[in-house]
C-alpha cells in the first residue's frame, strides 16, 4: 500500500477575500511505504502547507489526500502518523518521559504500557538517562530528540517532519540526521521531511521533491541513490552530483546530466542551504 497519496490538491487561503493566497496549485505526490521523501523549495512554496494537508491540520480547497489507504481526517483520528515541528514544542511542565507518553495517554494506553513504550523510544534517541528531567534542563538538540521520540511513540507507519533540525547547529544537525536514518531503517517508517537545506535533503532522502513558489507546485522529483548513508556517503561523488541536480532544479535550469566540473563546484560549497 502507498503511504501517502496527494492527488490534484489545491489550497487557497482566505478564499474569496482580498487577502486571498493560492498556496498550492494542482499538486500530485505519492510516497511509497518505507520511502523517505524530502520537500524542498524557497520560502512560500507551500511545502509546510503540503505537510499540514497530509497531517489534516488544514483541509485542501480541492483534491484529496489519502494516508495509509484512508482519508487524511480518518488517518489523523487513528493517529496514523507522528509529527515533529521546527520548535520541539515540548510541554515544559512534564518530564521528558511524560512528554513522550503524551500521545500514548491520548490513545488510552495503560500506565505501565505507556512507561515501557516511552522508555523504549527514549533509548532509541539515546536519552534514556534523562527521562526524569524537565525540558528546560535540556539543550536544543536534546529537546528535538525528545520531540522525535514523542512523534515515534505510537509507532506510526508515517512520520511527518517540518524542518525539525532547522534551529540546530550544523554538528548537532548532522548527528541527528544519522540517528533519524537509523531509526527510520529500524522501524521501517515512511517519512515526509520538509527542509530548505539541499545537503540535508539529499543525504536523508530516497527522493527529493522540488517545489517552487507562487503558486506552490511541484517542479521536479529527483530519485537519490547514495552508496551509503554515512560520512563516506557525504563524501561520495553521487552525493555531490545529486546536490547539483537539486540546486539546478531549484533554480529552474533544466536538470541536465551534471558535468564533472559542476560537481567540483558543488564540492566547494557543500553547505548549499
Amino acid at each position: 500500500m502507498t503511504a501517502v497519496v496527494v492527488s490534484s490538491v489545491t489550497k487557497i487561503f482566505n478564499q474569496g477575500r482580498t487577502d486571498e493566497v493560492a498556496a498550492l496549485s494542482d499538486v500530485d505526490l505519492e510516497v511509497r511505504d518505507g520511502e523517505f521523501v524530502s520537500l524542498i523549495g524557497p520560502s512560500g512554496c507551500g511545502k509546510s502547507t503540503l505537510l499540514r494537508l497530509i497531517a489534516d491540520l488544514i483541509e485542501p480547497s480541492t483534491g484529496t489526500v489519502t494516508v495509509a489507504g484512508q482519508g487524511a481526517a480518518k488517518a489523523r483520528k487513528e493517529q496514523a502518523y507522528g509529527i515533529a515541528f521546527q520548535q520541539a514544542g515540548l510541554f515544559e511542565w512534564r518530564t521528558v518521559l511524560r512528554n513522550v507518553e503524551l500521545p500514548l495517554e491520548l490513545r488510552g494506553l495503560s500506565k505501565r504500557e505507556r512507561k515501557a513504550r516511552a522508555e523504549q523510544m527514549l533509548a532509541l534517541v539515546g536519552l534514556e538517562d534523562f527521562a526524569g528531567h524537565y525540558p528546560a534542563q535540556l539543550s536544543g538538540g536534546m529537546q528535538q530528540r525528545v520531540a522525535i521520540a514523542r512523534a515515534l511513540a505510537v509507532q506510526p507507519p508515517l512520520l511527518l517532519m517540518d524542518e525539525p533540525f532547522g534551529a540546530l547547529d550544523e554538528m548537532t544537525r548532522e548527528r541527528l540526521q544519522s540517528e533519524l536514518l537509523g531509526i527510520c531503517a529500524k522501524t521501517n517508517t515512511s517519512t515526509v521531511f520538509v527542509t530548505h537545506s539541499i545537503s540535508e535533503a539529499v543525504f536523508l532522502s530516497d527522493r527529493v521533491v522540488v517545489m517552487s513558489a507562487r503558486p506552490g507546485r511541484i517542479t521536479a522529483s529527483i530519485e537519490i541513490d547514495l552508496p551509503s548513508r554515512d560520512d563516506a556517503g557525504r563524501q561520495s561523488p553521487a552525493y555531490f552530483d545529486k546536490i547539483t541536480e537539486v540546486r539546478q532544479a531549484l533554480r529552474g535550469t533544466p536538470a541536465s546530466a551534471p558535468s564533472p566540473r559542476s560537481s567540483e563546484s558543488a564540492a566547494a560549497g557543500t553547505d548549499a542551504r
Partner: protein, 280 residues
C-alpha cells in the same frame, strides 16, 4: 532563614519610620499654603507603637476580654468570609475564562462587561446586595458575594490570557493526536495557564480581603474585623491606639491570605524550580 531575616528587617524599617516621623514631625502636621502636606504626628493621630501593642493586651471594655482576642476572633470570622468569597470568585473567574476561550463570541461580548464590573463603586453596589441577606442567604454570605465580586476579575482576565498562551504548534500537536477541545483544555491549556493563574489568584486573594472588610462595613454585618474598625474608630478621640489594633488585624489577615494562596503554587510549579541545563 534568610527570608525570615528580611521580613524582620522590613518590620524594623517600618517601625523606625513610624517612630522617626513622630520624633521629627510637627505634632500639628505640616501645612503649606493652607494644604496639609504631612500628617499630624501627635499621639492622637499616630500613637506610639508600644501603646498599640500594649492596648492589645488590655481589655476591650472595662472587665471585658483583652483586645487581641477580640481582634483575632473578628479576623477569623472575616477570614471565613474571605475564603468563601475567594473560592466563589475564583470558580466564577475560571468558568468565565474557559467560556471566553472556547467561544470567541463570548469573549467579544463578555470581556467589556467583565472590565466594566470593576469600575462600579463597591459602596454603591453593597447596599443593593445587602437586601439579600436574611432572605435568600445568611447575612455573612452577602459579604462573601461582595468579596467574590472583586475576586473573580483578576482570575477571569489572567486565566483567559493563560488559556490563550499555548503556541500554535502545541495546539496543532494536540490536533494531530485527535484530541478534542476538552482534552486539549486539560492536557495543554490548563497546564500552560498555571503561570498566569497564580499571580491572578494572589491578586484575587487581596481583593477578597478588601471586599470582605468593605462589605462588612457597608452592609453593617457584625462579628468581623471590618465592623471592628468602624466601632473602634468611633473611640479614636479617647482611645486612639484601639483602632490601630483592628487595622493591624486586617493587615495580618491580608498577609495570611496571601501566604495561603502562594502555598497552592508549590506542588504545581515544581518544574519551574530547577533550571540547570544539561548538554549532550
Amino acid at each position: 532563614m534568610k527570608r525570615a531575616l528580611y521580613v524582620l528587617l522590613g518590620l524594623a524599617v517600618a517601625a523606625a519610620l513610624w517612630e522617626g516621623y513622630k520624633v521629627v514631625g510637627n505634632p500639628e502636621g505640616t501645612v503649606l499654603f493652607g494644604v496639609r502636606i504631612l500628617p499630624r504626628a501627635d499621639d492622637l493621630s499616630m500613637p506610639h507603637l508600644w501603646t498599640v501593642l500594649e492596648r492589645l493586651g488590655r481589655p476591650e471594655l472595662t472587665g471585658g476580654r483583652p483586645v487581641w482576642i477580640v481582634v483575632a476572633q473578628a479576623c477569623l470570622f472575616t477570614l471565613g468570609i474571605t475564603a468563601a468569597g475567594f473560592v466563589i470568585g475564583a470558580l466564577v473567574g475560571l468558568l468565565l475564562a474557559v467560556a471566553m476561550e472556547r467561544f470567541r463570541v463570548v469573549e467579544r461580548g463578555l470581556l467589556p462587561y467583565v472590565i466594566l464590573s470593576q469600575t462600579v463603586p463597591l459602596v454603591a453596589l453593597a447596599p443593593l446586595v445587602a437586601g439579600w441577606g436574611g432572605t435568600i442567604m445568611p447575612p455573612w454570605a452577602v459579604v462573601s458575594v461582595i468579596a467574590a465580586y472583586l475576586a473573580f476579575f483578576p482570575v477571569a482576565v489572567g486565566m483567559l490570557r493563560g488559556l490563550q498562551s499555548p503556541s500554535a504548534s502545541g495546539v496543532e500537536l494536540m490536533r494531530s493526536y485527535a484530541a478534542g477541545w476538552w482534552r486539549t483544555l486539560v492536557k495543554l491549556r490548563f497546564p500552560s495557564a498555571l503561570p498566569y493563574l497564580f499571580p491572578a489568584l494572589r491578586l484575587a486573594g487581596a481583593a477578597a480581603v478588601v471586599g470582605a472588610v468593605v462589605g462588612e462595613i457597608s452592609t453593617g454585618t457584625r462579628g468581623g474585623v471590618g465592623r471592628l474598625i468602624i466601632e473602634y474608630s468611633r473611640e479614636a478621640t479617647s482611645d486612639p491606639a484601639k483602632v490601630y489594633t483592628a487595622m493591624l488585624g486586617a493587615a495580618l489577615l491580608g498577609l495570611v491570605v496571601a501566604g495561603l494562596v502562594s502555598l497552592l503554587e508549590l506542588p504545581l510549579m515544581r518544574h519551574r524550580r530547577h533550571v540547570e541545563v544539561a548538554t549532550l
